[in-house]
Symmetry: C2
Subunit: 283 residues, 2 copies
């Protein structure tokens, strides 16, 4: 998927929403447990019920790996379903992988060939090696973790460097800008860290950002958009649990749609105001 396709999708659907498929067997509606593959069945129904409200889906691999190879099969089926049924929608593997060169090549194969994901989240701790192999693929994306949404992101990400006085997360964003382009590199910035977005937009005015932490984690949508939007929108805003596990009855997909519609309605207003004010004045 290309940068412009993403922008056009946002314009058409009036949404910045990414739905996190953190599908949790412990929260699964009971009637699905009888199915052969409850996780895939759940995802399929969620996707079918919300696809017009979202520009991206993002399964987190942990939830699938907890079920072993059967969970991994559910993940494969989910990626394949998204790609074949809704090819315009960005499908992101939230895998947070990161390894040395020859091993990274195997991860790239796993997520971009064996499964046809458009994008993968990458942990920057191992440096450039963690991303290089992924950037060799055309029309695929690396989403580098800059500043995560959890409180303990402070431990490493908010350490300041001795020379530049940059925070580690800023170094990561500068590296990422240098390693890739705005056509193949995005960055994770937690919604709970929206006060850092202005500073981040100075470094990367053009790049897309993936923003987790709206919803259950308490990040504020208005603030994120105020400081994060750029002339091409440039934001993919994720909510997971607060949408997909809002209800665990037979109505789960309907309720998920209502929750997603809630986000999309807010986002459509923000986009409308943003268009009115004139995007050109903003960077």
């Amino acid at each position: 998927m290309k940068y412009n396709d993403l922008k056009k999708q946002i314009e058409r659907k009036k949404t910045l929403l990414c739905i996190g498929l953190d599908t949790d067997m412990d929260k699964m509606p009971k009637h699905l447990l009888e199915k052969e593959d409850p996780m895939f069945e759940f995802n399929k129904q969620i996707i079918d019920a919300t696809h017009d409200l979202a520009i991206a889906y993002k399964p987190n691999t942990a939830f699938y790996e907890a079920l072993g190879h059967k969970g991994w099969l559910s993940l494969e089926k989910t990626a394949k379903y998204l790609k074949s049924r809704y090819p315009d929608i960005l499908n992101i593997a939230d895998a947070k992988r990161g390894d040395i060169g020859n091993t990274s090549a195997k991860y790239a194969k796993a997520f971009f060939e064996t499964m046809d994901f458009d994008a993968i989240t990458i942990n920057p701790y191992l440096g450039k090696d963690a991303v290089s192999e992924f950037l060799k693929y055309e029309n695929k994306w690396v989403i580098l973790i800059g500043l995560s949404s959890n409180p303990s992101s402070y431990d490493i990400q908010l350490i300041q460097e001795i020379e530049s006085r940059d925070y580690i997360f800023e170094k990561v964003i500068r590296y990422g800008k240098w390693w890739g382009t705005e056509q193949n590199m995005m960055f994770v910035v937690g919604a709970t860290m929206s006060y850092k977005l202005r500073q981040i937009r100075h470094i990367i005015p053009e790049h897309f950002l993936l923003i987790p932490g709206v919803g259950s984690q308490g990040g504020n949508l208005e603030d994120v958009c105020k400081y994060g939007l750029n002339k091409n929108f440039g934001l993919i805003i994720n909510a997971s649990r607060s949408i997909i596990h809002a209800d665990n009855s037979e109505n789960f997909a309907k309720v998920a749609r209502e929750k997603a519609l809630g986000y999309q309605t807010q986002m459509a207003k923000i986009i409308e105001n943003f268009n009115k004010k004139g995007r050109r004045r903003r960077r």
Copy 2:
């Protein structure tokens, strides 16, 4: 597995060797490709041929994920085989996971319950959340990536903090020491970084270190032992490709044994000298 069991295993077998099961389908002996599960068959033969020379095995998840759910099944079978057949040997998932709390709990379930690994490598970039859920398990280990063996480890890990002037990898090791104990926490330090080991041993004299990068990556075994050994040995030294893919004929397991024996012989000498000199004098 407990700290003392690991120490006793080293004394008994006179080896510090961990064999990395980075089993690569592109380097698979041809005669195994006809088998139903070539990766597991390969691993089983490698393990059976080398188990008396190694204290640990370490499959890297990337190589399995490249094959999708079938690869994940091979990984599960490998972990199960190790646990049932050679329960004294440490089995490490080289997964380099790291995520926020509720997601980390799912990864912990995947590797410590769904599969019965003794240990998992963890990426510290997300801070304490990345390890907390794993540390709730008894007799299991977190192996935190301190300083990796690849050249681009410099990008983040060798940044100096403004206040303490510590390198990031030192901060990670100090955190890890604080988050866990020497009974449930180890650290990855690349063999190519052996000149940092003296400094690291000042911070964590007691903890075990997992040392990758001997072999194909060019780290020096003598140097690693000189600066890394502690009174309980405290080192697990990994070689992967240089053992398991040394030969791709029908003799692959025999050749792997010869290569492993080469490492074990060197290690036995080092351990013997170390015992002679009196471990007590060294910390």
